[in-house]
């Protein structure tokens, strides 16, 4: 390989740390938030993730990446974990983990899919299912930092009970008219539902999002098909692909 160069500041070395579970909170029937006390946590940026490692009695180890849901201002690190089909790690975390348990964690990791209030906006955040987790860290950071960056969040969920952070999003949007939240439910909708009733498409993005001329910073996170179709629709609406950052968690979601 020609021209490889790795100059500049070295990142803090990635160390496995033994974190202690301080609280487990149900978000939906299939999603829980796990708050962790992490010794010597170096701090993080909204959008980053951690690697979690579980080791079986026979030494077999499984490792997964989970987005951090808590803002940098929070001394505890909270991850939000969704149950995935045949997901050995998510099943363990959701069914076995209790306050006081310990698990191995390293991070924070990543620098591409991140946002700091000082970078400004406006922000368009688009998520499918648990793709809302790193975007929630951005939203929480925006409030915790006292930022007035206008935010529009579009969240696609299967049914009403599957909406993650529903109450908190309602509360934040109710408290600040420059933080707007739109929901779409793709599988079924309750009586009286006033949100969208279909998969996210170009027309929905045009209604909910910012005009391309406003040059929003866009973050899209969710399953690969959603991320790809949303990114293509945004490009079609004239958004600069370089300002549309995506993170996908694959067909299995884990």
């Amino acid at each position: 390989m020609a021209g490889a160069g790795l100059p500049g500041r070295l990142s803090p070395r990635l160390l496995w740390r033994l974190a202690t579970v301080s609280a487990v909170t149900a978000e939906t029937p299939d999603v829980e938030s796990i708050a962790l006390d992490v010794p010597d946590w170096p701090g993080h940026t909204a959008g980053q993730h951690v690697d979690v490692r579980l080791t079986a009695e026979d030494g077999y180890a499984a490792q997964r990446a989970y987005s951090i849901a808590s803002p940098p201002e929070d001394p505890r690190v909270t991850v939000t974990v969704a149950r995935v089909r045949d997901g050995e790690v998510s099943a363990f975390l959701l069914e076995e983990l209790r306050a006081g348990d310990r698990l191995e964690l390293r991070g924070p990791i990543g620098g591409y899919f991140t946002w700091e209030a000082s970078q400004g906006g406006p922000l368009l955040l688009v998520a499918g299912g648990s793709g809302v987790v790193p975007l929630m860290a951005m939203g929480r950071h925006r409030f915790a930092a006292g930022s007035d960056v206008p935010v529009r969040l579009l969240l696609s969920s299967r049914t009403e009970v599957d909406i993650i952070y529903r109450e908190e999003l309602d509360r934040l949007a109710g408290a600040d008219p420059t933080f707007r939240v739109a929901h779409t439910l793709t599988r079924s909708q309750p009586d009286g539902w006033t949100g969208y009733r279909r998969r996210i498409d170009r027309a929905m993005l045009a209604e909910v999002g910012w005009p391309a001329a406003e040059q929003p910073r866009v973050f899209v996170c969710g399953p690969t098909p959603l991320v790809e179709s949303v990114a293509a629709a945004l490009t079609g609406l004239g958004h600069d692909p370089a300002r549309v950052k995506t993170e996908r968690f694959g067909p299995s979601g884990e």
């Binding site: 390989m1 790795l6 077999y60 499984a62 990446a65 620098g111």
Partner: protein, 98 residues
């Protein structure tokens, strides 16, 4: 903490963000913002925008433009083997962050 073993096939199409921990472990710098250029088609961009396939035996980072592999990382008996043969150029460091 221990986990009862229940092995499942784990083959997923993700993006460069999913390889962030592995690549930082190898290069000791944050790598999702590193700029990578494909040796075949010349497409360049942050590693966060690449296509990643992860499996228990290894991880392949692929070009978002043409799909060809850029970086292959395999683990064999404790050894971590890194093949950068698909890469024309790779730049990491402070000057690459937006």
């Amino acid at each position: 903490m221990t986990m009862h073993r229940n092995v499942t096939v784990d083959d997923r199409h993700l993006d460069g963000n999913a390889a962030a921990g592995l690549l930082q472990e190898i290069f000791e710098v944050e790598m999702t913002t590193a700029l990578v250029v494909c040796a075949r088609c010349g497409t360049g961009g942050p590693i966060g925008t690449t296509v990643v396939y992860a499996s228990p035996i290894g991880t392949v980072v692929g070009c978002a433009g043409c799909g060809r592999w850029l970086i292959r990382v395999t683990r064999v008996r404790g050894w971590c083997c890194v093949d950068l043969g698909g890469v024309a150029d790779l730049r990491a460091g402070d000057d690459t962050t937006a």
